[in-house]
Amino acid sequence: MSIIVGTWVAAFLTLCIFSFLYKDNPFYKFAEHLYVGSSAAYMLVYFYFFNIKPMLIDKFITSAGTVRWILIIPAFFGIIMILRIIPQISWISRWAIAFTMGIGSGIGIVAGIHGYILPQIKATFLPLVIPGNVVESINNIILIIGVITTFLFFYFSKEHKGLFKVPVRIGMTFIMISFGASFGYTVMARLSLLIGRIHFLLHDWLHLI
């Protein structure tokens, strides 16, 4: 019974949201506000029961020694983060933000250089001609031209004029192709979501398929 009620509620809310495609209306507004409110409440409960309770409160109660007392540090930073809502002392929250940013930068810099920049540079050092493999040779040449000309496009110390204009134009074309591919994929993603919803309406709700 609960599944049937849930399916009908989900179908009704889906149709409420789709009604916006015709024009803005009270049904859409109702579904939109319900979504925002329920999401906020759900996340609040979820984060308390999956983050704060097991990782701070329960751990503080069950742990002993250093492990227990070290939990005071994140608890302290968590509390001072909330001080942002009091304008007079909101500056204290910057300590927590600084702490978070410090950790984020530390991990990010190492991961970025070691895990992204260096492997990608290494993957660009390709042979221009591979004997007996014309397709791979052409691919490598295109890749290297693409990398160099795209770099040149972002070189702004020299005006994009004269002889310099040609590689910059080629670089821009590579960038445009990349944007086009990303946009095409994005259209596909949005249609997939629509297919998912229509599949739900036809399969789970109306049982037509």
Partner: protein, 269 residues
């Protein structure tokens, strides 16, 4: 007439797109699906794993990406269970947990798999990057117990699993940037073999990883899910949805052409 072409009311477009999706779904027409090399590589990576190897699934998406990634998860899980691999499911996104759990329960039942012996769900923990680095040392530092609070050491299949060295393949199903972290932390720092599956929005950003050999396979969007379903011979929402997707794409191309014909005709006048 050309002005009308250039300014078609968007509501007509919505209706036609809806029809283009509804009719293929109702008629269940299936178009031929060609498997692309990135998806084939993903499949082969799993296929090469010896029996009883462990596969870690990271469910890093929420219901908003469910239409694309859930069919992918179901298809890959079927492949893993068919090969008798040990499946560990975890998530960095809190709402990924119920999606992962429902898929696990469904597919495990199909293959008569037993919880704790063949598969486990260790659930969600906050702290994405810290967890990824921490698993390199000891998974229990962050996941002392599974989603239900059962200690990992009391689950038979988890006794021999401590860090990345014990995990044959990591499958990251991603709707955001978590896939990048997996590659840059687990892949680059610990040499973990990774296959990424993403929404169609996120997939283009990961082709450089594939080209550089940082990941072993890439499954993109509903199309990727359909290709994987074809490889594991299990028709699901991916294959069914791809016909609707193709028809809708043709409709969009026709609208783009009509709009441009109208635009250039007006400009010439």
């Amino acid at each position: 007439m050309f002005k009308k072409l250039a300014t078609i009311d968007r509501r007509y477009i919505y209706v036609i797109i809806a029809i283009c999706i509804i009719i293929p779904l109702l008629t269940k027409i299936v178009l031929e699906i060609k498997v692309s090399p990135p998806v084939q590589s993903a499949y082969d990576s799993m296929e090469k794993l010896p029996t009883s190897s462990s596969v870690l699934f990271s469910i890093d998406y929420e219901p908003s990406a469910e239409p694309e990634l859930q069919p992918m998860l179901l298809a890959i899980l079927r492949h893993a269970f068919k090969k008798d691999l040990k499946v560990i499911v975890m998530c960095h996104w809190p709402l990924g947990f119920p999606l992962g759990q429902s898929a696990l329960v469904q597919v495990a039942k199909e293959y008569n798999k037993e919880y704790g012996k063949d598969y486990v769900n260790i659930g969600y923990r906050p702290g994405t990057e810290a967890i990824m680095i921490g698993i390199g040392r000891e998974i229990r530092d962050f996941f002392a117990s599974d989603y239900a609070g059962v200690l990992l050491d009391s689950l038979p299949m988890m006794r021999a699993i401590h860090n990345y060295r014990d995990i044959g393949l990591l499958i990251g199903l991603e709707a955001g940037a978590t896939g990048d972290f997996w590659v840059r932390l687990a892949g680059a720092q610990f040499g973990q073999k990774i296959v990424l599956g993403g929404t169609a929005v996120t997939t283009p950003d990961w082709y450089p990883y594939l080209q550089a050999g940082q990941i072993d396979g890439l499954i993109g969007g509903l199309k990727g899910a359909a290709e994987y379903e074809k490889l594991v011979e299990s028709s699901g929402r991916g294959i069914v949805g791809m016909t609707a997707q193709s028809v809708a794409h043709i409709a969009i191309i026709v609208f783009i052409l009509l709009g441009n014909i109208g635009y250039f005709a007006i400009r010439r006048k």
